[in-house]
């Protein structure tokens, strides 16, 4: 319902402005979207962006699981790395972009690293907090009953951290699409961000709108997918 109101407002505003250059309406934009999804080029562009985004996401998640667990388990590592992560988290994306051109050049790598750099500290801090949040009484129980280390890590620590991992994923996925698009826009050679940049130069605002819509849809789809995964893993979140 709210979506329809939004589209209606958009439609009316576009009619008032009545210029595709300033504000293309929903009809033009969906037309542009149709062109994208019916062309191989369009799908290639979307796919390239997805590959970069998810590569960055999974590298960040994989490494954050290790660093987050080590930080969560070892107090001294936590004390040492917490400020580092806070600093990393505070560095604005444009600074990374400026450096990325020199460090990794334009192309595939830079957007992946940008996604990684923005997500890694968020994931690490959240996982570390999740691990630290573990019920110490359960750890004591595990010690008395001599549960193997592997079991303690998976059944007690990982399960305790699971809700934290999920919530950081939720935040991370939104940031992921934004940062990959910006990175492509600035230092990419392909993907949605690049095409939006090209469209800007060729004053094809309809295409800017259409690809923005693609990003929005990607964001919604991934969030729904995450919800589905959470439901599957819900038993971890089941708590007293």
């Amino acid at each position: 319902m709210s979506i329809f109101i939004l589209i209606l407002v958009w439609f009316v505003s576009a009619e008032i402005v009545s210029s595709d250059l300033l504000l293309p309406g929903p009809v033009e934009t969906f037309g542009g979207l149709w062109k994208i999804v019916t062309s191989i080029d369009g799908w290639e562009t979307i796919l390239e962006t997805c590959v970069k985004a998810f590569t960055g996401l999974f590298i960040a998640l994989g490494m954050a699981l290790v660093s987050g667990f080590v930080m969560g388990l070892v107090e001294i590592v936590y004390e040492l790395l917490k400020p580092v992560m806070t600093v990393l988290q505070s560095i604005p994306i444009v600074s990374w972009l400026a450096l990325a051109i020199f460090w990794w050049g334009v192309g595939f790598r830079s957007p992946v690293y940008i996604v990684f750099l923005t997500l890694f500290p968020i994931f690490t801090i959240n996982i570390a907090e999740g691990v630290r949040n573990v019920d110490k009484k359960l750890v004591e129980m595990a010690k008395i009953y001599r549960l193997p280390k592997r079991v303690v890590l998976t059944k007690i620590y990982f399960s305790s951290a699971f809700p934290f991992i999920v919530s950081s994923m939720r935040i991370g996925i939104g940031i992921m699409w934004k940062s990959v698009a910006v990175a492509e826009f600035m230092v990419g050679t392909s993907g949605i961000g690049r095409v939006i940049a090209d469209s800007k130069y060729s004053i094809n605002i309809v295409r800017v709108f259409a690809y923005t819509l693609v990003l929005v849809v990607l964001g919604i789809v991934t969030e729904k997918a995450l919800d589905f995964i959470i439901k599957k893993g819900n038993r971890y979140a089941l708590k007293n």
Partner: protein, 229 residues
């Protein structure tokens, strides 16, 4: 089983919880530590289990496999009742132990779906399934209804009798102590004053004997607490 405590002292934030406790017991025993709440009984059990280090004195315990019935249950919340037993004792007869505590129909439930009494029973089943040579029990019959308490009390007595097993139980209920123990340690705050009551084997102890013993224990507990004032 050998338990030898020598000059044991434990402080928390400068406050003495256990003050210079010396005690020893040997052979197969069912030791009950009887005292009012907050007198350091749980702390003593945690020290015996090895998760807490004393500030002074020594504890010698010959146990090779020790189980603990926690006052706050400490079940893993995101796995089922069945898995909570399996995780501590892989390959054990889970169904048998669930039946022992009357949970045979609830093996698939998560702790959050169980009542307080059910969680306590699962906690007890986990300890027994571990096949320990010593069980430390912290107020194990709290939060159980009268019938279930009676049933479990008899079961634990049987298991203690049949197996190569010693038990240290903490409670404030003199009747529980009278029904189960081979030896009772009456304690006052901070273990400043203790008194040992030695009993015969609890197997076959008559109802009259239990009445007499628990009445006597209650009298002693009253004297202990008036001593405090």
């Amino acid at each position: 089983m050998l338990l030898k405590i020598d000059g044991l002292t434990k402080k928390f934030d400068g406050e003495t919880v256990i003050n210079d406790l010396t005690y020893s017991i040997e052979g197969k025993f069912f030791l009950t530590i009887l005292g009012s709440s907050g007198c350091g009984k749980t702390t003593l059990l945690r020290i015996l289990s090895g998760v807490l280090k004393p500030d002074g004195g020594t504890v010698r315990l010959s146990s090779e496999r020790l189980a603990f019935v926690f006052q706050d249950d400490r079940l893993i919340p995101w796995i089922t009742a069945r898995e909570n037993i399996e995780i501590a004792s892989p390959g054990c007869d889970v169904n048998g132990y669930l039946r022992l505590v009357g949970l045979e129909d609830h093996g698939g439930k998560y702790p959050s779906q169980m009542s307080g009494g059910m969680k306590r029973r699962l906690n007890i089943a986990r300890a027994i399934a571990f096949e320990p040579d010593l069980i430390l029990m912290d107020e194990p019959f709290n939060s159980l209804d009268v019938v279930m308490k009676d049933h479990l009390l008899e079961e634990i007595k049987e298991i203690w009798h049949e197996r190569k097993l010693s038990i240290v139980m903490v409670t404030h209920d003199p009747r529980e102590a009278a029904r189960l123990s081979t030896e009772i340690m009456l304690v006052r705050d901070g273990f400043n004053k203790t008194e040992i009551v030695k009993l015969e084997n609890p197997i076959g102890r008559s109802a009259d004997d239990i009445d007499t013993i628990s009445r006597r224990l209650l009298e002693r507990m009253k004297e202990f607490s008036s001593y405090v004032q």
